[in-house]
Symmetry: C2
Subunit: 133 residues, 2 copies
């Protein structure tokens, strides 16, 4: 069956779920090229709407998402990608899941997960003294 990329201008939402725990880790978008690249490599590649290009999850952090199964919904316009996530978390703010905050009815949010890594250590690796490149 065909994924309906046309419904939303070439993109489909892709829910990322940890296959082992069932936790929903994040949501990204895929275009046809990123979906093909995800399949070819066995690791999740999104299309970044803000940067307007393919974005391999984990390219800087090493926290790649190994694809275990891809599910498609009834009207073929959304994907559920079940993964084995490598590393302590997918969220650039240092959590296992990007959905780490609960939102109450009044609009206040509070973290419901505990931080699993220090983003500064993962996303910025300053050049050590003496190492010019």
């Amino acid at each position: 069956m065909q994924i309906d990329f046309d419904k939303s201008g070439g993109l489909v939402p892709a829910i990322i779920q940890d296959e082992a725990s069932g936790d929903v880790l994040m949501l990204g978008f895929m275009n046809e090229a990123s979906y093909r690249e995800t399949r070819r490599t066995g690791e999740v590649v999104f299309f970044s709407r803000s940067r307007n290009k393919l974005w391999k999850k984990g390219e800087s952090s090493g926290h790649v998402l190994k694809v275990r199964d891809v599910r498609i919904d009834c009207d073929a316009d959304a994907l559920l990608v079940r993964v084995n996530p490598i590393g302590p978390g997918v969220c650039h703010e240092g959590y296992r899941s990007c959905f780490y905050r609960s939102l109450d009815e009044g609009g206040s949010s509070r973290p419901v997960l505990t931080s699993t890594f220090a983003p500064d250590e993962v996303y910025q690796k300053p050049i050590p003294p003496g190492k010019a490149e």
Copy 2:
């Protein structure tokens, strides 16, 4: 915190997850009005892109989604709505989850869930003989 409805033309994707089982049941979109209505009623209301109006999940089937928790992602442009789903399934094709098919690398799909109800009985209730209204 504010939900970023502006990023995608007034809509955010809302992942629906069964709080008890962890299963991802479906994905819909919410605009600000549907989010407010979801909060006011405690049951999920989407915005239907095809019908261009609010769409209360379960309005015809009775299979409403009772909201247990709403999570927001790190950049505030996606929601994870954890629910108690009423009834045997959310999918109009008769399954517990809309993501009932696995998609292989060649593009073939196969059901990985078993059907839990007969859509014809839920979505079409023909008037019994003798009952004119």
